[in-house]
């Protein structure tokens, strides 16, 4: 027993509860698995529409892309009824996210230019397919990594 009246066992139980509740918040606010192939598919469809160079296809593809993206992002945002604390992600997590986006962009552009240099048809769409595939394959592991970063951060603010 301590001055506070809490036993070491009850203090340990309280810390376990605090960790569990943080885990609960973090897990509930992660981007769901379906988001990655959905957004990847939209990117491919939009790029293919633009690459047809037919005005009506570009117009329909653009509208469909905007509506589809708004629906996907809106569904994720509306599902969230709590916002995870920004500081849990920290500099390491933020750098990971920025690096991830840059790698995806570089991969898509690189593949697209390579396809064009090789004389392949639909080079931009090939680049978009590469990006979409990479997103679908690596989005869930990225979420798992960010979850681990957030739940293993020491408790107690800046500690």
């Amino acid at each position: 027993m301590t001055d506070s009246g809490a036993t070491p066992a009850s203090a340990a139980d309280a810390l376990v509860e605090i960790h569990a509740r943080r885990n609960q918040v973090v897990t509930a606010t992660l981007v769901p698995h379906w988001y990655w192939p959905a957004v990847g598919g939209l990117i491919v469809a939009f790029t293919a529409a633009v690459e047809t160079r037919r005005p009506w296809v570009v117009a329909v593809g653009s509208v469909a892309y905007v509506i589809g993206l708004a629906a996907a992002v809106g569904r994720v945002v509306l599902r969230h009824r709590a916002q995870v604390r920004t500081s849990l992600i920290g500099a390491h997590g933020a750098i990971t996210i920025v690096g991830y986006v840059l790698i995806l962009v570089a991969l898509g552009l690189g593949t697209g230019f390579a396809a064009e240099a090789a004389g392949l048809a639909w080079p931009s769409t090939i680049g978009a397919i590469t990006t979409a595939g990479a997103m679908t394959a690596t989005g869930p592991p990225l979420m798992r990594y960010l979850r681990r970063v957030m739940i293993t951060r020491p408790l107690g603010g800046s500690r």
Binding site: T2, D3, S4, A6, T7, P8, A9, A11, A12, A14, L15, V16, E17, I18, H19, A20, R21, R22, N23, Q24, V25, V26, A28, R81, A82, Q83, V84, R85, T86, L88, R148, I151, T152, L155, G156, G157, S158, R159
Partner: protein, 104 residues
């Protein structure tokens, strides 16, 4: 690093769970907290009132379209009290030689 300060108000089991959820968020909706904690509206309101009177939480009421929305934020004082309480718990555990490992 926060100075250890055991907080009896936060340590009560339901409030500990509630403040722990809020500490991991920028804000949380009333409905979200009620579901996560499996409390009734009145039980959660009572706990939030206690914390609000202590200056630990801020409650914001707004409308999204025609639907009322209540969101809750841990105040600066509440966050400081929580951090101090966590440090006190860690001290108690460390002095006893126990170890707490975060779950995955």
């Amino acid at each position: 690093m926060s100075a250890p300060r055991f907080d009896e108000l936060i340590h009560a089991p339901t409030r500990l769970s509630l403040v722990s959820l809020l500490a991991a968020t920028e804000w949380a909706e009333f409905r979200y907290l009620r579901e996560q904690l499996e409390l009734s509206d009145s039980a959660l309101s009572k706990q939030l009132s206690t914390l609000e009177q202590a200056g630990y939480v801020e409650i914001h009421k707004s409308f999204v379209g025609k639907r009322p929305r209540t969101s809750v934020t841990l105040s600066r004082a509440g966050r400081a009290a929580f951090d101090g309480h966590v440090a006190a718990l860690q001290d108690i555990v460390a002095r006893s030689g126990l170890t707490v490992l975060p779950g995955g």
